[in-house]
Subunit: 350 residues, 4 copies
């Protein structure tokens, strides 16, 4: 079925197609349409939508539903995600699958409601306490808002871990055509879940391990699955990288501006290429090393003051110079502005 | 005055000497002695100690007191710090000085109460939303628990920014001699504070900037001070680095095990050196590059599954191979265990 | 269907038969089996059970579901009910139907978990702010725990007002035969509800009336329905009152001890009768006046230090002497003890 | 010192003169000036003012400070007081002295911010759970807002029980001359308090009594002090009652309208008198019985739909007919309106 759809609404449609039937959250601009659409659509499929007292309450309800074996989600923006950091650490620590959507807004604190990409550290490095990882997916279109949400539920169950959809306010708010197949979600068995049934009475969902050896062994087991995920879940998109001399790297909405920039640069005779990470964790390091192997320069562009650039540098480990250009506060770079950055980087006159 | 003192208590003594007169928090092992000592000592100097309803309440009380111009602090461990992430982003976003102590415990979620160093990402990269930084200090002794707390209040006021004391449970719980000078704290003027007086009525403490240009300009101004801090606030300790062939890097309690390891290795003829970051943010990259300039190998050791190692790699940018060894769950590496790691790294037989 | 059932479980069975499909609460002894049974049975009939963050959260979820037109309930014991007082005033003030169960425990504050009847004032006089009334039903058996719960939902919808099931811990905890008919609940139309549909978009559920005349008119309208309820909803049970010289008055579990006392007294030649209020609000004043019209003395017995006795005195208005006997803390009076009270009241030798 | 002062501010001045040094609250119209004045004046005398996260947090802070032996207070209006009902039951149950001010606003739920007297039941009968009583004082002037607040702290300590100042929004908001003597408060010893000192280490402040006999004995002990208070603390004001044929009864602002009505009626030849309860609990029943002993009719006037009238009826127990007239929503009765009520009550033509 093809339809015109808002990014935030596409998330909910994807979630429902993925078999998600429980939503707990608290509205916040620019993520509120997710709550609104969930309030509308979840009851229609026999699911639960609940606006909680606070984001702290919401994420702990997610914990409860996930422990009971449901596909469950929440969504918010920066301040709300910060309030969820304790709960997300608990979810990861108890190996509970769930999907959390962050439609990033501007600034630390209250900031503003314009788009940014400045929650990268908080979501990708892990803003909660302890050794754990979120899997993080970065959609760049309305179609991907639905598709990656569906993928997120698959990955969440595969790795028994929270998966974050990290999108900027542009992708959340814009409308584009969306094509959805009406397929029946294949829900995995969850023999570990606590369902209030006699069979699951002995199951224990917990993150407490009082003995140090037990705690270390448990973290090693978590780490092992993170290593597995790093091997097989790196996702990315390449464009014009074969002969590129300068590689532009960006995710989400920025990748679309970078594609226009690449095309404009090529018209001007500059062999530019685009590398778009789709998974932010695991970061597509192997493909990036390969894509950057023949370029002279790498330019990372973000709607932040430089966060993902650290993962680009860690991946390339000094093999190629990595430069950064960022805009913040809701402002985005124009193609002209980025061309100028590339020219100056390549030491070319405009 | 020389005394035998617990690390957690030394934090409070340092805070009081620094002129801190307001403490808002909620107890959690292994940080509870900080609350206990604050409850005892703050009232004795005319200060306020308040055990709040939750960590969310506590950090917002810190915001209020900081906005009123007081030197103010809170302390907790991992789960509590996660709950404070929203408030910390607000404090940074409103440019409010405060000191937050994290006595790290084990594991994500509930975990256990044994020491770890796994909140590095959450505190150093910034677990809250938006572009902001915490300054982060890492004491390695009871003396430093007091001294770096005093420094923390200075830096907080100098940069109008939260400063985090990031200590593992070992440093928090152990007892050592502590030497304190009874000096009068020099409290800076804070003309920006909102004190409920006619003169400060027009002052506005906020993090909201609705216009994108205004929000971008404000973040550039915040960034400028972070760049200044990076230039002048990098702190570290070196040991036997002049002729080192292998450089061991660790902070907090680990740096003390590493020093023993270095000495043991040298007895075995291995020229090992120690680099101890004291500031985790800004990370002492310049000194590390210099210290690592003549070594063959770098080994980073943490009570985590590898967090600070990213900043070591970012600093060295591929110039020297960087290896990692970590223990978690409350377990710590022995000198023998670390020697073995170095031998294998240097491809030497034991 | 006849079954052996616990009082607390009977409440849930009655609620489900009455068409209630949403339960929000927080467990507390001696009401916890209600939450437990609701968690088990509500999902089986496609309903929602949610354990909220706190009683404050729970009662506000009840408000939301009631505003959406659902039959909805919560249950707790004293401390939880106290936390719900603000929400109950809001529910009454917005004319929202709901059923709230109070399984009374012992003492003010934390007290103990033994049965008492000391929340009478809080539930019957109205512990929340402002002019409003709860309708209050007092079951005295497991059968009535189910039957009066079904009635409660009818009355709640009829008067658009909260209805309280006020039961002591004895009635909540004891097991007795329960006979339930499997009837289809007749749910009334609620054209005033806000259902998220286009048709109900203009509906407004609120308790705010800024203008004084408007606020007064609204309260007069509420009062009018309370006067109506007082006329037609007084419920009670009489036993041996025709020729009684002394009238014993008690509700809930006490009424059963009083019945045994009446029978024992009659064996001793004392013409005693029993008056049992079933509705505590509206209080069955008319029937009590009638029943007391020929007696010499009235003795009110409660598991409190004297609360309902005020309504007995207000009803009789000095026409007959009203005496009181109470036990508290979880202790209940024996038949022998009560006989002794009556003897001494009637100035008879034992 | 004589000054022009608002009722809400007079409360704070009285509290400070009474030696109260801790205020925890949350602002709400029409009680906000109390918080505002407390924020201004408490720090000036070395006291603590704290705006809590919610009324639930505030009342539990009051519990903490009271347990530590401080004179402590809070203030709010209807909705806030409802949220404090659990805490107030805990304070009474743990026999902790404190002063709570309720500046009553209009309506149940959100209602409006105009004056009413409709929290009488919630404060006087006890809106929290369990057998306990608040002592309740009803000021009728700005001077009494200060004087009765001072008295409230005395009574709170004398009976180790919460004392409520129950005032309507008129008395809270109006300005009148206030005369205060600058006396040193005599603070009683509190050997039962928990002060964090070695001497008080064995003290236990609690309301939990698990054994039924222990719980019953404890409640009997509480009851004994309530009986004592009933004997010696009944306070009231009489006016023209000696030869009165009709007795008007009202508290707070209404008593002032009633006085004008009495004077107007006497000009018209109607022998009217005024009875003003100053303590609402204990209710001045003895004096009321005496004052009503020679009248033909009693008219109770309230800014409610009839709450205190129950205590008047309970006191007179049918000896004199008791009629009621009430206005709500922020509307108050005029003298003319009340004269008309009396005329119609006395079956006189206007």
């Amino acid at each position: 079925m093809r339809q015109l759809c808002k990014g935030n609404v596409a998330v909910v449609k994807g979630a429902i197609l993925a078999g998600c039937r429980a939503y707990y959250g608290y509205p916040i601009t620019p993520a509120s349409e997710i709550a609104e659409a969930a309030a509308l659509y979840f009851p229609q499929v026999g699911g639960t939508f609940l606006q909680a007292e606070s984001e702290v309450a919401a994420i702990n309800m997610v914990y409860g539903a996930a422990a009971a074996g449901l596909r469950v989600m929440s969504a918010s923006s920066g301040p709300g995600l910060s309030l969820m950091q304790e709960g997300m650490s608990y979810l990861a620590g108890a190996e509970l699958p769930c999907v959390i959507v962050d439609i990033m807004r501007g600034g630390p604190g209250l900031g503003n409601i314009a788009p940014e990409q400045s929650d990268y550290f908080a979501m990708v490095k892990g803003g909660g306490h302890g050794n754990y990882r979120n899997l993080v997916l970065a959609p760049a279109s309305v179609q991907e808002m639905a598709d990656l949400t569906m993928l997120a539920f698959e990955l969440a169950d595969k790795y028994r871990n929270p998966v974050v959809i990290l999108a900027d306010g542009f992708v959340g708010q814009m409308m584009e055509p969306l094509e959805l197949e009406d397929i029946e979600a294949q829900l995995p068995e969850k023999p570990w879940a606590v369902k209030g049934t006699p069979e699951t009475r002995a199951n224990l969902v917990t993150s407490i391990y009082l003995e140090t050896d037990e705690m270390e062994a448990y973290q090693r087991q978590m780490e092992a699955k993170y290593i597995r995920a790093k091997e097989v879940e790196q996702r990315y998109e390449l464009c014009h990288t074969d002969d590129a001399e300068v590689l532009l790297v960006g995710y989400g909405i920025i990748s679309r501006v970078l594609l226009s920039t690449v095309e404009a640069l090529r018209k001007d005779g500059v062999k530019a290429g685009l590398f778009r990470p789709i998974t932010l964790w695991p970061f597509p390091a192997k493909a990036l090393v390969e894509a950057a192997s023949r370029v002279e320069k790498v330019l990372v562009v973000e709607l932040s003051n430089g966060q993902m650039v650290e993962d680009v540098r860690l991946s390339l480990n000094g093999k190629v110079p990595v430069d950064f250009y960022g805009r913040v506060g809701g402002n985005g770079p124009s193609v002209q502005e980025l061309k100028q950055q590339v020219f100056s980087l390549m030491e070319m006159a405009v």
